[in-house]
C-alpha cells in the first residue's frame, strides 16, 4: 500500500541529488572560468545536464535547466534567459532522443556532446557575447576538451547514480 508514497519520497531525493550535482558542476565551471580568464567557458554544467537528461529523463524535468541557466546568465553577465533558452532546447532534445543516445558507444556520445557544445557556444558567441579574434581557437579547444571530458563525467555520474539509487 505504501509503495506509492515510497516512490514519491525516492523521487524527491533523486530530484535534489540531481540538483546538487549540477550545482557542484556550476561552481566548478565558475571556478575554472575565473581561473583562466577565457572568452569561451568549459560548459561543465551543460554536460552534467545532458547526462542527467539522458540517464533519468523522467526525474530531472526542466526546472534545473532553468535555475542553473539563470545562474550562468547572472555570473557571465549576459542577457537573462540566454543560457536558459539553450539549456531548455538541449534538455528537450536529449530527453526526446535519450533512448538513441543511451544506445550509442562512448565515442559516439562524446562526438554528440562535442557537436552540441559547439553549437551551444557558437549561438552564445553570435547572439549573446562579444566577438573577439582569439575566440575561434578557444572555441575549438573547448569543444575538443569537452569531448575528452565527457567519458570522465559520464563515468563519475554513473557511479554516483548507481550508488545513490542502491542506498536509497
Amino acid at each position: 500500500m505504501t509503495e506509492y508514497l515510497d516512490k514519491k519520497n525516492n523521487f524527491i531525493s533523486i530530484y535534489f541529488f540531481i540538483g546538487i550535482t549540477i550545482l557542484i558542476s556550476l561552481v566548478i565551471e565558475i571556478f575554472i572560468s575565473n581561473l583562466f580568464n577565457l572568452s569561451v567557458y568549459l560548459p561543465i554544467t551543460l554536460m552534467f545536464l545532458i547526462y542527467w537528461n539522458m540517464a533519468l529523463p523522467k526525474d530531472i524535468g526542466l526546472i534545473w535547466a532553468m535555475i542553473f541557466g539563470f545562474c550562468l546568465d547572472v555570473n557571465q553577465e549576459i542577457l537573462l534567459g540566454s543560457h536558459v533558452l539553450l539549456f531548455l532546447l538541449i534538455s528537450y532534445l536529449t530527453q526526446r532522443y535519450f533512448h538513441r543516445l543511451r544506445a550509442l558507444y562512448m565515442i559516439q556520445q562524446s562526438l554528440f556532446v562535442a557537436v552540441v557544445i559547439l553549437i551551444y557556444q557558437i549561438i552564445l558567441i553570435l547572439f549573446f557575447s562579444e566577438f573577439k579574434g582569439s575566440i575561434f581557437l578557444e572555441l575549438i579547444l573547448m569543444t575538443v576538451l569537452s569531448a575528452f571530458l565527457w567519458p570522465v563525467i559520464f563515468g563519475i555520474l554513473r557511479q554516483l547514480r548507481i550508488k545513490f539509487i542502491q542506498s536509497s
Partner: protein
C-alpha cells in the same frame, strides 16, 4: 509473412524511440517564460539589478579561484630557479633605490658646493671688506617675504647686506640670538644707491613693497634712460658694496609732477633660491 515481420520490427523500433520521451508541449511553457524574461531584459534591462545582487553571491567562488592562482604561482616559484631570481631582483631593486638616494644627496652637495664657490667669489672683490657666510633655515613668502639665516651672530652687524648666488638680495631686518632675519631689497622704504650702467648716472632706488619692483626716486624728465637699461649698486653711502646687479628698467612713465619721470626697475634677485647667504660690508 516476411512483410508482416518487417512491419512489426519497424513499429517496435519506432515505439522504443518514442515511448516515454519528452513531448514538445511540455517544453513550451518554460520556453515562453524564458523568452518573456529575455525580451524584458533586452527592452528594460530588468536583469541589471538582479545581476548585481546575485554577482555578490558568486564572489566567494571568484575570489577562491584568484587566491588559488596566486598560491599556485607562489608554489611554482618556490620550486623553480625563478624563486632565486625574483629574490635577487628584489635585492637589486632595493640597492638601486639606495644608490639613487645617495646620488640625489651627492647632486645636492655638488649644487651646494657650486653655490658656495660662487658666493665665496664675492669675497675676493675689493669692494667687500668683511663677509660672513650663513645658511638659510627658514623662508616666508610674499607678501611678507623674509628669510631666516643661521650664521655666526657675533660677526654680524645691522649695516650688512645679504648676497646670494643671484647677487644682492636683501638687507638685515632683525638680529636674533641664533639667526638673522633678512628682508628683500624691494621691501617698502628700502633705499639703495645705484648707477645706470649705460649712462653711468647715479640714482636712488626705492622699494615699494611689490614683489621684484623698485622705483627710481626723483628721476628728472630730461635724463637719458631706456627700457632694458641695467642698474647696478653704486657703492655710495657705504652700505651696499659696489658693482652688484640690482635689476633692469622695465617701465618708464610720466608722473604727476611734470618734471619727473616714474621709472620702474625689475629686480633680478630671486629671494627663494639657493641655500647659502653671504653677509657683506663694503
Amino acid at each position: 509473412m516476411f512483410q508482416k515481420e518487417h512491419k512489426q520490427t519497424s513499429i517496435a523500433s519506432n515505439a522504443i524511440f518514442t515511448t516515454g520521451s519528452m513531448r514538445a508541449s511540455k517544453l513550451l511553457p518554460s520556453l515562453i517564460f524564458t523568452i518573456f524574461i529575455l525580451i524584458l531584459d533586452i527592452n528594460f534591462s530588468l536583469g541589471k539589478e538582479i545581476k548585481s545582487a546575485f554577482l555578490e553571491s558568486f564572489s566567494p567562488i571568484s575570489n577562491l579561484s584568484q587566491s588559488t592562482t596566486e598560491l599556485s604561482k607562489e608554489i611554482s616559484l618556490f620550486f623553480t630557479s625563478q624563486y632565486k631570481l625574483v629574490n635577487d631582483l628584489e635585492e637589486k631593486n632595493n640597492e638601486i633605490e639606495k644608490l639613487n638616494f645617495e646620488l640625489l644627496k651627492l647632486e645636492q652637495l655638488s649644487k651646494e658646493n657650486e653655490e658656495l664657490l660662487e658666493i665665496m667669489g664675492y669675497t675676493k672683490k675689493q669692494t667687500i671688506s668683511k663677509s660672513v657666510i650663513g645658511e638659510i633655515i627658514d623662508m616666508s613668502y610674499f607678501p611678507k617675504e623674509s628669510i631666516s639665516i643661521k650664521t655666526n651672530i657675533a660677526e654680524i652687524s645691522e649695516e650688512m647686506v645679504a648676497l646670494s648666488l643671484n647677487g644682492l638680495v636683501g638687507i638685515i631686518d632683525q638680529i636674533f640670538p641664533s639667526y638673522v632675519k633678512v628682508i628683500p631689497i624691494y621691501e617698502k622704504k628700502v633705499n639703495i644707491p645705484g648707477v645706470i650702467q649705460r649712462t653711468n648716472q647715479n640714482i636712488i632706488l626705492e622699494g615699494i613693497g611689490e614683489q621684484n619692483k623698485l622705483l627710481i626716486k626723483n628721476f628728472k624728465k630730461n635724463s637719458n634712460i631706456l627700457l632694458e637699461d641695467k642698474v647696478f649698486t653704486s657703492g655710495l653711502g657705504g652700505k651696499y658694496p659696489k658693482g652688484f646687479l640690482i635689476g633692469i628698467v622695465n617701465k618708464i612713465s610720466a608722473s604727476k609732477d611734470d618734471s619727473i619721470l616714474e621709472v620702474e626697475v625689475q629686480s633680478l634677485s630671486n629671494f627663494d633660491t639657493g641655500t647659502k647667504i653671504l653677509f657683506a660690508n663694503p
